[in-house]
Amino acid sequence: MKPNNASEHALLIETAQDSRRRFLRQAGTATFSGIAVALLGGCTITRAAGTSTASDADDAVAKDVRILNTAVAAEYEAIAAYQVGAESGLLKPQVLKVALNFQSQHKQHAEALASAVRKLGGEAADPKTHYNFPVDKLKSQEDVLQFAAGLERGAVSAYVGAIPLFDHRELSGAAASILADEAMHWAVLRHALGLDPVPQAFYS
């Protein structure tokens, strides 16, 4: 699937490609200090903060891969959850349309994140064969929307907790753009549930 948000997808991929290429090329050198490589028509990527040796750099790549893969796994869970909601028969047509759009965006997130993992030389997480969702509790459209809202709320917190950890700030920025999208999902779902869509100024 081709992402609608090409710049977000491209930023993740280009960041990952460049990081890996640079780490491989620089293996054995004493320092990455001062390295900046042009990306995407003027955007730049600097070395991972704190990396001073090839070993440090490899550790930084491995760490970023783990962070990305945890996000990939969470995105796959969201995709599966929306599928459960879509197939429940509980959603009105207009709501179903919105849900499928949100699912499509989660697919784009998963694809972009997984691509970044592969470009860093890692192996992207696969979807689980089974997700243990509380389907027995989904009896109405409201139940489905609450279930989805809970997942989106959790996703916001997960990205908030992960974004500071990236060694490469460009990955943090790209992940933040995903966070923004999922925060919008949450707000829309809250609105559909009759709740204040944005009940506070800060989230963690």
């Binding site: 959790g154 996703a155 997960a158 907790g161």
Partner: protein, 152 residues
């Protein structure tokens, strides 16, 4: 040694539950240990930060939290742990959770819990106090406990 239910996999000293922490290699049984200091209700609000990956009763991107206290790290059935967590051999209690939750990736390098941590000590205490409530008697965990007991 015995276990409190097949699900929690908690090694405890038989017949000395109230004193078990002193006699079980430092691993307090969740059923007998004193509740950790902290406000569980406030901790439940902090737990919102965990729900992107965790659930009390279900394995998700992270393992379920029912029965966490007294459990050996990396041992929830059906959850695919990182190699680092499998090797960690930590018994989860108030002390080890406080250490881990401060900075998970620093505490156990290689963990797939890629979360910055709960930096505020009071919030950690409250969160840990909430996690301690997720035992077999808690409403959130009853269904899981019953299911796993049925499975033997």
């Amino acid at each position: 040694m015995t276990r409190i239910g097949p699900w929690f996999r908690v090694p405890v000293c038989a017949a000395v539950l109230s004193l078990a922490a002193a006699g079980c290699g430092g691993a307090p049984p969740f059923a007998a240990a004193a509740p950790p200091p902290g406000d569980p209700a406030a901790g439940k609000r902090v737990y919102v930060r965990c729900i992107g990956c965790h659930s009390p009763a279900r394995n998700r991107t992270g393992p379920r939290h029912c029965g966490l206290f007294g459990r050996l790290s990396g041992t929830v059935p059906g959850f695919d742990y990182s190699a680092a967590m499998k090797k960690a051999a930590i018994t989860w209690n108030a002390e080890t959770l406080d250490w881990f939750l401060l900075d998970p990736m620093e505490a156990i390098p290689g963990t797939s819990m890629t979360f910055a941590g709960v930096k505020d000590a009071r919030e950690r205490r409250n969160l840990i106090a909430y996690l301690a409530t997720l035992d077999a008697d808690s409403q959130a965990c009853r269904s899981v406990a019953a299911k796993l007991r049925k499975e033997g």
